[in-house]
Amino acid sequence: MMKQELRLSGSGGQGLILAGIILAEAALYDGKNVVQSQSYGPEARGGASKAEVIISDKIINYPKVDKCDILLSLTQKACEKYINSLRPGGVLILDESVTEKPNREDIKIFSIPILDTAVNQLGKPMVANIVALGSIYELTKVVSKESLEKAVLSRVPRGTEELNKRALSEGFKLIENHKDSVYGEVC
């Protein structure tokens, strides 16, 4: 792996920036160079939010993500906004609530119930970001499992470790159980 660029998108308050930080920290534990950045509007909740992570074996100069290899979109709006930034052959992970699937045949699309799992399986909507990280790992292996677990546990609030471990493994399972939810195939 030379360079992987990831974009995590959704709305403010979904914890995507924290997810980006955790992913970046996991890559750091793996010994990679990494840059994590974000953009958001002036509001603290709602509005568009995205976090970006670049993982590379080489020095990273330009710190922003233009075209990405992996795109996570938790909302319809985010998906529409960023779908064209996904490289051909890239991986799109959508929350199941995104009903209008993008019309691209040159990418792999996984539609999985990330938000629903957080609410109904784990009882905490706020761990959707960790569920998403579990799924991103299971699909792409962009970081190692050990590093991801370590990074999650070092960044989540004390007392929520068990909940977040469960969220992570629910994320792994979503991919194992939804192998049939692939829409496109790499051309």
Partner: protein
């Protein structure tokens, strides 16, 4: 090898770590995006090391508070963004004329006024130089990576102490908010400079007299028995105001020259792939990262292009830029404004070579692709 910790750190966090390594013991500020993390982390860290953090009622109070704290011997810092930087200009001028060391961080955002609160811009280049009124010189540093923010913050404190002057640390939102890998030595390896305290007794202390072989007057701490007057007015060596024209001229000239005459000590820069370059980019901060990516790609196509990146933007690296201008065919100044530093570079390099500019003011970082198409598309 000294022990090192490898961390994922945000630029604003590295600024606070650097400040503490430099000896910061006081922070006063009024939080503002995109600099807020600097206030938050100073609030969390300073009390643990016996320092003080105060959230002030406004920006002018903040800079006034750090000037007061510095006069008692505590190394002091405040951080802000454009709107607050405008308000702090009054205090910056006061710190210049009263020769009080302090560090003012400006994590820039789009302006004028409240502008684009969460977006990057490099619009305060000239305000850092000339924002406060009156004839003066200023030291302004401009880091480009998270690690460099750490080092440059330490250097900002050192220069403030050494030259008894406010030092401005200009930062980009892009680097203030991004996180990257940083290796920080467990024990700070950098030299820490502390202001020279008076050798004389309190009764013999002449607060603004520069002793032979010194660059600036020795500085006593308030509260240690040395009584002296501090004023924004033109003052004599005694510290008391005067209208004497000769003293006024001598003071202003000394305040300007203590910085300009020591440019060789103050100026710091990076040269990137300049060895065989016949065309160069001059840029700073976050845009320099885009320029490096662009240069790597352009070199793959055989272009002999390199970059000169000032880390000290004021005083300007006059000598170095002049020498480069004499040997290259073209200098391109790239910045997230419409040509502020370009004015300075054109003044220096324009008589030797072609100087052109590329700018962007929409709140997005200039991309390597943009730089490449600008370089390839130039005419004449």
């Amino acid at each position: 090898m000294p022990e090192k910790t490898v961390k994922l750190m945000q630029g604003n966090e590295a600024c606070v770590e650097g400040a503490i390594a430099a000896g910061m013991m006081f922070y006063a500020g009024y939080p503002i995006t995109p600099s807020t993390e600097i206030a938050e982390l100073s609030a969390a860290k300073l009390p643990r090391i016996g320092g003080k953090f105060i959230q002030m009622e406004d920006e002018i109070a903040s800079i006034s508070a750090i000037i007061g704290a510095s006069l008692t011997g505590k190394k002091s810092m405040t951080a802000t963004s454009g709107p607050g930087f405008s308000l702090k200009q009054e205090g910056i001028g006061y710190a210049i004329i009263s020769e009080v060391p302090c560090v003012i961080v400006n994590v820039q955002r789009g302006g004028p006024s409240t502008g684009l609160p969460t977006s990057p811009a490099q619009g305060d280049i000239m305000q850092a130089r000339w924002g406060t009124h009156g004839e003066h010189s200023i030291i302004t540093l401009y880091p480009s990576t998270v690690r460099e923010i750490y080092d440059t913050t330490i250097r900002a404190f050192n220069l403030a102490e050494k030259y008894r002057t406010p030092v401005i640390l200009l930062m980009d939102e892009v680097i203030g908010h991004m996180r990257e890998k940083i290796e920080i030595p467990e024990e700070n390896q950098m030299e820490i400079y502390n202001r020279k305290k008076p050798a004389s007794n309190p009764e013999d202390y002449v607060p603004y007299k520069v002793k032979e072989d010194n660059i600036v007057p020795e500085m006593a701490n308030f509260g240690e028995g040395y009584r002296f007057h501090v004023t924004g007015l033109i003052h004599s060596e005694t510290g008391f105001p005067t209208n004497n024209n000769k003293i006024a001229a001598e003071l202003i000239t000394r305040l300007v020259n203590k910085i300009e005459d020591n440019a060789d000590d103050i100026v710091e820069y990076e040269e990137y792939k300049l060895e065989d370059a016949n065309e160069i980019i001059i840029t700073y901060g976050a845009t320099a990262r885009s320029a490096k990516s662009a240069i790597d790609l352009l070199r793959e196509e055989g272009r002999k292009i390199g970059m000169f990146r000032p880390i000290t933007i004021w005083p300007v690296a006059q000598k170095q830029i002049e020498n480069l201008a004499k040997i290259v065919n073209r200098v391109s100044v790239i910045e997230m404004n419409l040509g502020q530093y370009f004015l300075e570079i054109d003044r220096i390099a324009g008589k030797y070579t072609k100087v052109d500019k590329y700018g962007r003011v929409d709140g997005e970082l200039i991309t390597p692709e943009e730089i490449i198409s600008f370089i390839k598309g130039r005419r004449g």
